[in-house]
Symmetry: C2
Subunit: 229 residues, 2 copies
């Protein structure tokens, strides 16, 4: 079976930059290619867009198929269509970035035959195609957006300590933050709920757990509140 058109058409793909956070770094999920071109190289998860799915559906399907990841924060990043970005033919790719709770997704990495692994964002191997550039753009977008939208919580478990949030911002923004000022600021926004629980399995005083109250955030937003770190 083949499909014919009056004018030539570019192939259309989606590629996803999946970010996760652990105790050390910001991580990105990569897949090792098992086919040419760039066979054996690490690359962003992604694939061809089908005609019966929207772009975002396509991105979510590829994420599911290649990494087992589902139900994550996903946002369109940029569309790249340089003529020679794929050696085979003209390929235009719509890129997305995803934020996942790494604790929930540590295992599923190697769902299908392909090799998948988390890498520190600042220490990735050589990537296929122009994926290094895409990763760079995604990282920059995250750095910018995390300051005025409460998307950072997508990288944390549902219950987290104030230290974890601060660590998140320190890692993403790549600068140290003052503990007292940070806590004052994040608590004064009134978008966190203090839980009657503390963290466990730590060899020192346990910190209180909080969760992000999305309802409250949305209510405040309608009243003109602007999140900002």
């Amino acid at each position: 079976m083949s499909y014919s058109y009056e004018y030539p058409r570019a192939a259309l793909t989606v590629d996803c930059v999946v970010f996760g956070l652990d105790d050390d770094d910001l991580k990105v999920l990569l897949i090792q290619r098992d086919l040419p071109p760039f066979e054996g190289r690490w690359a962003l998860p992604g694939g061809f867009v089908r005609l019966d799915e929207s772009l975002e559906e396509s991105a979510r399907r590829e994420l599911r198929e290649e990494t087992g990841i589902e139900n994550v924060y996903l946002e369109q990043l940029y569309t790249i269509g340089e003529i020679d970005r794929d050696p085979r033919e003209r390929v235009v790719t719509v890129t997305y970035y995803a934020l996942v709770k790494l604790t929930d997704h540590q295992v599923q990495a190697a769902t299908d035959a392909r090799n998948a692994a988390w890498f520190a964002v600042d220490d990735v191997p050589a990537l296929a195609f122009d994926h290094a550039k895409i990763l760079e753009m995604a990282h920059e977008r995250l750095r910018g957006k995390v300051r005025y939208q409460p998307i950072g919580f997508e990288l944390l478990p549902a219950k987290f300590t104030l230290r974890q949030i601060q660590h998140l911002y320190e890692v993403v923004l790549d600068r140290p933050l003052d503990k007292r000022n940070f806590r004052k600021k994040i608590l004064s926004m009134d978008i966190l709920v203090e839980l009657d629980e503390v963290e466990t399995d730590v060899a020192h005083r346990a910190a209180r757990l909080y969760k992000f109250d999305r309802r409250k955030y949305q209510r405040l937003t309608k009243q003109g509140f602007n999140f900002e770190i």
Copy 2:
């Protein structure tokens, strides 16, 4: 001649939201369609992506062909690929927005056969396809971006008065600004050059002209300066 592929492919287009500013409003440039679907309706300038040009080149070509506009600020906005957004077949569109100096582009609108005209952004006719949504997104992006990037100057003539900049921000942000505070702020950034000229043809005291010093802005940016209104 026809082109065959193993899998079906979406058609790929670009669409541009062209903003201009006059003494009253923020305007957008629209084209009246001369072919079905939506024949006779107003629409964003745009068209199919060719395989020998990048996406941005494609957007610039369509702008030139359909409106005569060249050498303008152009930035990618979003890519839309909902399955049924075009009644004929699957069409994915990469959208851009452009900022033009309306004074330079008043006449060229009707370059080719098609009818082209400027409309106040808040008073556009019914648009073809999902172009109303695209316009809405572009407007929102402009509102957001104009506050932390000096792109507003792209809407003004090379030489402008402080009142014109203030008017620009008042129109785009849709709120009144205090004259003294605005002038203090914009001048304190040290990115404007005061010229030895004043405006002409006004029936009252003439205001001093300024121009935006891009060099100075870039130098300051490298030193950690952040534009913000």
